[in-house]
Symmetry: C2
Subunit: 228 residues, 2 copies
């Protein structure tokens, strides 16, 4: 493998969305079960992107999809929340805690490779998130730049084009099978990073045994060691 770029999924792979979102929900909606709320909100993530991917609706960036699925969830649970609270909840996804190995592991990867985000989050969201968690990325790449969503090939191919490398010179790192399947189809190399708690304590995260890819790691540090 001639890896030039290590492209990283963010939600679940680099940061702990479950804890971060649940913490914000607990603060802003004190009367709901915050963990359950975070889970249900995230459950709407893939379906909301699929409506864009299928052409059922025009391109919309992730903040818009998050807001719509939040409104929908609040309606379903019959929870009251004013506009400002809703805006602040959507911004919870802009500031999420890194997994303990993410900063040190990415720093080590960055010493020998270009490190980039490659997430369905928008450029603004990712810029805020990377800055708040001090994640050592060389550049912020987003599905927004392709006006598409992973796992559409356009997202991975746009990343290769913008960084002026061949698809096989990018290693896509993710904790999700669907992302790695898409990356592989687009010609990228793939690494599964297992994050057993990424879906919270009640849901089973994707497991290495179910994913067919080039590398398997249980932390960014472990991945860096394998690439050295």
């Amino acid at each position: 493998m001639d890896i030039r770029v290590v492209a990283c999924d963010i939600f679940g792979t680099t940061v702990d969305w479950y804890t971060g979102v649940a913490d914000q929900v607990a603060q802003l909606l004190p009367n709901v079960d915050a963990g359950d709320f975070a889970e249900r909100w995230r459950d709407r993530y893939i379906p909301s992107m699929n409506r864009v991917r299928s052409g059922e609706r025009d391109w919309a960036y992730l903040d818009t999809l998050h807001r719509e699925s939040l409104d929908d969830l609040l309606r379903e649970l019959d929870v009251e929340a004013d506009d400002e609270t809703r805006d602040r909840l959507v911004l919870a996804w802009h500031r999420l805690p890194a997994w303990p190995d993410s900063v040190s592991g990415l720093a080590r990867l960055r010493a020998k490779h270009v490190t980039a985000t490659l997430s369905n989050g928008g450029v603004a969201l990712l810029t805020h998130l990377v800055k708040a968690a001090a994640l050592p990325f060389d550049c912020v790449l987003s599905a927004e730049l392709a006006h598409a969503y992973k796992p559409d090939a356009a997202v991975y191919q746009t990343a290769a084009a913008l960084l002026d490398v061949q698809p096989e010179q990018i290693l896509m790192v993710a904790a999700h099978k669907w992302d790695l399947v898409g990356a592989r189809k687009a010609g990228l190399r793939t690494a599964f990073l297992s994050r057993p708690l990424e879906k919270g304590p009640n849901k089973q995260a994707d497991q290495a045994a179910d994913v067919d890819c080039d590398l398997y790691a249980d932390s960014f540090l472990n991945l860096a060691a394998q690439l050295e």
Copy 2:
């Protein structure tokens, strides 16, 4: 002013293209006057972009324009250079020395604002350059993302859209009048950063007295102090 984003021009403003390119030319083309060569190459920069801006030719990223103007210059000077040397010369623009205040000044700006590149260089070029010079930017934004070139309004407006801010929440920092005029027309705030040597020792750089903008600074540190 409610500045959220400090967007920085790169060539001449953040890094010393003249010294960096002349050094590479001296190494790769030992028989030419390296400073003069760097100047002549850069003289072709604005005209080459104008051919894209006017619609005379399709979008092409800066590496392509640099390569074409290099080929043209070598022909004019009757200098021999093989393909590999030409490729390496084009890459000289990917690795340029920062001005002495750029790293510390940008770090100080980054503490309170989002710092972004906003250059006519492509995403790959900027990613390489920012990484090599360890410039503390939160994200890499390029004219390439608008398929346009500064001073076209689309470049500045694309930056605002991607970072989800109003144009007047971006402060464009540049050592060039033409860039700041374009930014201002697009609704951005503007700061002139004087770089007396940015065109080398033989050419007059743009001067503060000739530029109409919101702020004037002689270093990134000085600009950070004014914003605090």
